[in-house]
């Protein structure tokens, strides 16, 4: 179980939940939690959400994108208040994780940035931000979760719906990723199925071997498998 310690809505159609997880086991950056809701009659629904906080954070921060027909996300975004108890399970996942010690290229679309925020925050606490190269894509800056934090970390921000600085609106391009490549990097791609497909093809065209690319795709159903 976890107690909701904080609820923030910094961008539209989403919520950041800060959870005090009882008997917590520290996560690795990139892992996720399952949140399970139970109705009065015993009916349950559960979904996976990536952790945005660093392992050293005393609270676990989950970022939840509100889907209009999302049974769990609408509850988390619209109903949950500080002090509520939530059933959570985690951390889960041992593949889409960063060890904190090897070079990584992080490529995200939209709320796919969440596991990378955990990696970035972890790198900041250990002084190893030099290991991370980050490229993120969203329609607008206002729709990009953790935009300020990513910009401050020097992330390449590609906006498809508006100009950003001197960069005109447009999809992420291979020539933008090439300068972010380093020898021995593992690439992590996280986003919708269509974004993940396009981004992995970009990385392969930019010369990365498929074996060095890890992918987390999410759809309307969550992000687990």
């Amino acid at each position: 179980m976890a107690t909701v310690a904080g609820v923030r809505r910094p961008i539209q159609r989403s919520v950041e939940l800060r959870l005090d997880v009882h008997d917590r086991v520290d996560h690795l950056p990139g892992q996720h939690y399952v949140v399970r809701l139970t109705a009065e009659d015993g009916y349950t629904a559960q979904r996976s959400y990536s952790v945005a906080s660093a392992p050293g954070d005393p609270l676990v921060e989950l970022f939840v994108e509100r889907l209009d027909d999302g049974e769990v996300s609408t509850y988390l975004a619209d109903v949950v208040e500080p002090g509520d108890e939530l059933e959570v399970r985690g951390p889960i996942g041992g593949w889409f994780v960063w060890d904190g010690a090897s070079p990584a290229l992080l490529v995200a679309g939209g709320s796919g940035v969440v596991p990378f925020v955990s990696m970035l925050r972890h790198a900041r606490t250990t002084g190893r931000e030099d290991l991370l190269r980050i490229a993120v894509s969203a329609r607008t800056l206002a729709a990009l979760p953790y935009a300020d934090e990513l910009a401050a970390a020097g992330a390449l921000i590609a906006l498809t719906g508006e100009q950003h600085g001197i960069r005109p609106a447009g999809r992420l391009a291979a020539h933008e990723l090439i300068p972010l490549e380093e020898p021995g990097q593992t690439a992590y791609v996280c986003g919708s199925a269509s974004f993940a497909e396009a981004a992995t093809q970009l990385l392969e065209s930019a010369g990365l071997p498929p074996s060095a690319i890890r992918v987390e795709r999410f759809g309307p159903s969550g992000a687990a498998a």
Binding site: S48, G94, W95, A193, T200, R217, S221, A224
Partner: protein, 208 residues
């Protein structure tokens, strides 16, 4: 990973969807309707059918490999029914076609000691299954969905299909089935997921 502590009570204010639940829906699952979400851990490989083959090896009397054409010459077998993903979507009334694993195993002849199978995909993805769960008309390799070639994002040209277990067991882009005497964890199983994965018993994670 840890277990949740005790049996939690209701979540304040949670109503959930309407409960006219379809009896085909295992606990904790919802009906994805016409959607078929794509969830994989590696880049999608492009495999030309001419270069694809399926091998059955390990604890078998006759290690065997079939090319695309050879596999298609085997008796066709179909599955019409439901599939269930551990990320909680289920899809009703799917229609797949390919070859029953019974046909492949009949030719390769598992040894008396064979108890498990490790399925391996072109990408290196692996998943482990008990032998008794892939025999007796319960598992296939399939190359057709809804009467059309299986799309690459869903594992085409050929994927494993074990529809009575969570769908991560139905390895996409499958190329090898290795019979084993002892169980070994596959890719997701090493990462905290259940060794069997029965959706009706909600065997999502190790310890369920």
């Amino acid at each position: 990973m840890r277990q949740s502590d005790g049996m939690p009570g209701p979540t304040r204010g949670f109503l959930g969807r309407r409960r006219d639940r379809d009896a085909r829906l295992p606990p904790g699952q919802y009906d994805a309707g016409t959607d078929w979400p794509v969830l994989t851990a590696e880049p999608t490989p492009r495999i030309a059918p001419e270069t694809w083959s399926i091998t059955v090896d390990g604890a078998v009397e006759t290690p065997s490999t079939w090319s695309w054409d050879e596999a298609h010459a085997l008796p066709r077998s179909e599955y019409r029914g439901d599939i269930h993903c551990v990320t909680t979507w289920s899809k009703f009334g799917t229609w797949f076609a390919g070859v029953s694993l019974d046909t492949l195993l009949e030719a390769a002849r598992p040894t008396a000691e064979a108890r498990f199978v490790m399925a391996t995909a072109k990408t290196g993805y692996t998943t482990n299954l008990p032998l008794e769960h892939i025999t007796g008309g319960k598992a296939w390799i399939v190359w057709e969905y809804d009467g059309k070639p299986l799309p690459v994002e869903h594992g085409g040209p050929v994927r494993l299909l074990v529809p009575h277990l969570y769908f991560w067991k139905s390895a996409k882009w499958v190329t090898r089935l290795t019979l084993l005497q002892r169980d070994q964890p596959g890719f997701w199983e090493q990462n905290g997921y259940h060794d069997l994965g029965d959706p009706w018993r909600q065997q999502r994670y190790q310890g369920d």
